[in-house]
């Protein structure tokens, strides 16, 4: 079947594997006349190496195809195939190949969210002192404005913390899962850090309020800020590690 001349790998890249595919043709034959002239028998080590190489090449190709297929099923809209093999797809894709290309799809968000925070501090006498609302989002917006390269802390930090909070909580504010508790802690940490960085007062409770403002439909005059059904979600008071002491 194979030419014994091929027992001597030519030192030219394709030589070994060319043999897997088709042994007789190809430029490699021409490039190594010296080797062909002296047919050499193969040592066991060489054969082992060749078999190993062949296995590795096949494995590479198989892995590549499997990977591409499973990533496709992961990113494609949910369909009968991806539903059926969802456990396999998830096992392969998570965590490192997770992806989501739906930033502005199917529809871009049509609301702007305003997240505000206020703090409370229990005085020595037992009375509770509550601060005024502090607009966290306004801080982010002003950090983005006139900045050609806004920081992730302005564009993503609070925005994604909130969407993750909603994802794990749903409509109410009762944390039913471990993840929900984690997101609640994350959100309260963000708010507490921001408030503490802004004013020096001490506090041990924090409360968030999220105002959702729909973006007016296209064609509405700019600047005419419509108060059209702004949704107002008041979160419960959360205890935080005492800040500002």
């Amino acid at each position: 079947m194979r030419k014994t001349g091929w027992a001597v790998p030519s030192g030219i890249e394709p030589a070994d594997v060319k043999e897997l595919q088709h042994s007789d043709s190809g430029p490699a034959t021409k490039e190594c006349p010296d080797d062909v002239r002296t047919p050499v028998r193969r040592s066991r080590g060489a054969r082992l190496l060749k078999a190993g190489l062949r296995t590795a090449v096949v494995l590479c190709m198989a892995t590549t195809l499997v990977h591409v297929l499973l990533v496709f099923l992961h990113v494609a809209p949910s369909n009968t195939v991806s539903k059926r093999y969802s456990s396999l797809v998830n096992a392969w894709v998570y965590p490192f190949f997770e992806q989501n290309w739906r930033l502005f799809a199917p529809d871009p968000e049509s609301v702007n969210r305003k997240i505000l925070a206020r703090t409370a501090h229990t005085e020595a006498g037992g009375s509770v002192k509550v601060s005024a609302w502090f607009d966290l989002t306004a801080e982010d917006n002003s950090a983005v404005e006139h900045n050609a390269f806004p920081s992730h802390t302005a564009q993503n930090l609070l925005r994604r913390a909130w969407t993750s909070y909603v994802d794990s909580h749903g409509g109410d504010d009762k944390a039913r899962t471990e993840r929900a508790l984690m997101m609640q802690r994350y959100l309260s940490n963000i708010a507490a850090d921001r408030v503490a960085a802004h004013n020096s007062g001490t506090f041990d409770f924090i409360q968030l309020r999220v105002v959702t403002l729909p973006i007016a439909a296209s064609g509405t005059a700019v600047g005419n800020h419509p108060p059209t059904s702004a949704e107002n979600r008041l979160l419960p008071w959360w205890k935080v590690t005492p800040h500002g002491k």
Partner: protein, 405 residues
């Protein structure tokens, strides 16, 4: 096995194809295709320039990103982040992520990691000991991504995927310090005799070269597929959206306050309703069409339009990192001959403007796509032969056995 069927009698008669009996022509054609694909996969590393562009692009992009977030580094990745190290560790237990950053909560350790990330990104972009650096770069990007997973966006996601895939590729063969060192070494050792290698060493070396070639080609294929999936899926999802259909999607995008670095500019663009609708439709059409235009000349105008679209996103929405990651990803579809043509173009343009005095010799790069192997391999082949000849009689049995395969 199976080499006989693929004997090089390529043009079989065409009549057989029209007959209903098993058409040998078709089988032949298929076999030829398969062997050609195998040849493409194992023969030589494809698109070495594009791989290098990806290396430089993502290395620099991450370096710039790290430097940009220097004032916020503790808030994003450090022990002082609202996403505390213990929260991160708790999430790793649930998701299987991991990060070098959560190994210690000490600030000094974090600063060390940050500096290491800077150095790694820079060296990776420069292509110094590229394979090792590519692994380190992937570890760095994965670690930083996992540590701040709730602060990432699409750009970070793409950068992470590419950092992982680039480990597979030979992305340091062009436009890198490694390539420069190799070139200097070959130039210096031009006339000196090559060391004679033993046969087994030579075989190991060949096996390694084949393996790196296959890995590289698989990696490049995965990268290309990844970019195609990205565009294809985002396009398919957008087609389902009512606002993209009505041509108002970009109106909402332009009014998101967090993505409004230049509000006056956003409002100015937003006033042109027709323009917004056309741009929205173009976006969806480009993205859906992307996988289909890559195999013809149409890809050049499409890539140019995508480039302008991403520049628009970078400026209007304040997402330069995301746009940069996308632009670099698109570069994978440009062929080697495009990149080899670039220096000529630059030189001609420079000569025309008179800025660049002609520097012959050194700068004269390879005009066409050069031979893709490692330098020095070809010459060492012939010198290795005597060693082989000496050893050939020592293993007669193995030789016979291999004949019967």
């Amino acid at each position: 096995m199976g080499s006989e069927q693929i004997a090089p009698t390529a043009p079989t008669d065409r009549r057989s194809r029209s007959q209903q009996t098993a058409p040998p022509g078709a089988a032949q054609w298929l076999a030829d295709r398969i062997s050609a694909a195998g040849e493409l996969l194992t023969g030589r590393p494809v698109s070495l320039y594009a791989a290098s562009v990806l290396r430089v692009g993502y290395g620099l992009l991450y370096l710039v990103f790290l430097l940009r977030e220097f004032p916020h580094r503790d808030e994003i990745w450090g022990p002082g982040s609202p996403w505390t190290p213990s929260l991160a560790r708790q999430l790793f237990d649930q998701t299987g992520w991991n990060s070098i950053l959560t190994l210690s909560d000490s600030r000094a350790y974090f600063e060390l990691c940050y500096v290491m990330a800077l150095v790694t990104s820079a060296l990776f972009a420069l292509g110094w000991r590229t394979r090792v650096m590519s692994i380190l770069f992937a570890v760095v990007v994965t670690s930083f991504h996992a540590r701040a997973i709730f602060m990432t966006d699409g750009g970070d996601n793409l950068l992470l995927l590419m950092a992982i895939y680039l480990v597979l590729t030979a992305c340091g063969r062009r436009w890198s310090l490694d390539a420069r060192r190799d070139r200097l070494k070959t130039a210096r050792a031009g006339n000196a005799p090559q060391p004679v290698r033993s046969r087994s060493a030579q075989q190991l070396r060949d096996a390694r070269i084949t393996l790196t070639t296959v890995l590289h080609n698989c990696g490049m294929f995965v990268i290309a597929a990844q970019v195609i999936f990205l565009y294809g899926s985002t396009g398919l999802y957008k087609v389902q959206g009512a606002s993209w259909g009505s041509g108002t999607a970009l109106h909402y995008v332009l009014n998101l306050e967090l993505f409004q670095p230049w509000p006056a500019l956003s409002h100015l663009v937003d006033e042109h309703t027709i323009l917004i609708a056309i741009a929205g439709y173009m976006t969806v059409l480009l993205q859906v069409a992307f996988p289909f235009v890559l195999f013809g000349r149409l890809k050049y105008p499409v890539l140019a339009m995508l480039l302008s679209m991403h520049i628009g996103i970078a400026v209007l929405l304040g997402l330069p990192l995301f746009s940069g990651a996308m632009i670099v990803a698109d570069a994978v579809f440009l062929p080697d001959r495009f990149y080899t043509f670039l220096p000529h173009l630059f030189r001609r343009a420079a000569q025309r403007t008179g800025v660049w005095r002609s520097t012959p010799g050194r700068a004269a790069g390879p005009g066409s796509v050069p031979w893709q192997g490692r330098p020095g391999v070809l010459s060492s082949t012939h010198r290795a032969t005597p060693a082989v000849a000496v050893r050939k009689d020592t293993t007669p049995a193995a030789g016979l056995a291999s004949d019967q395969n």
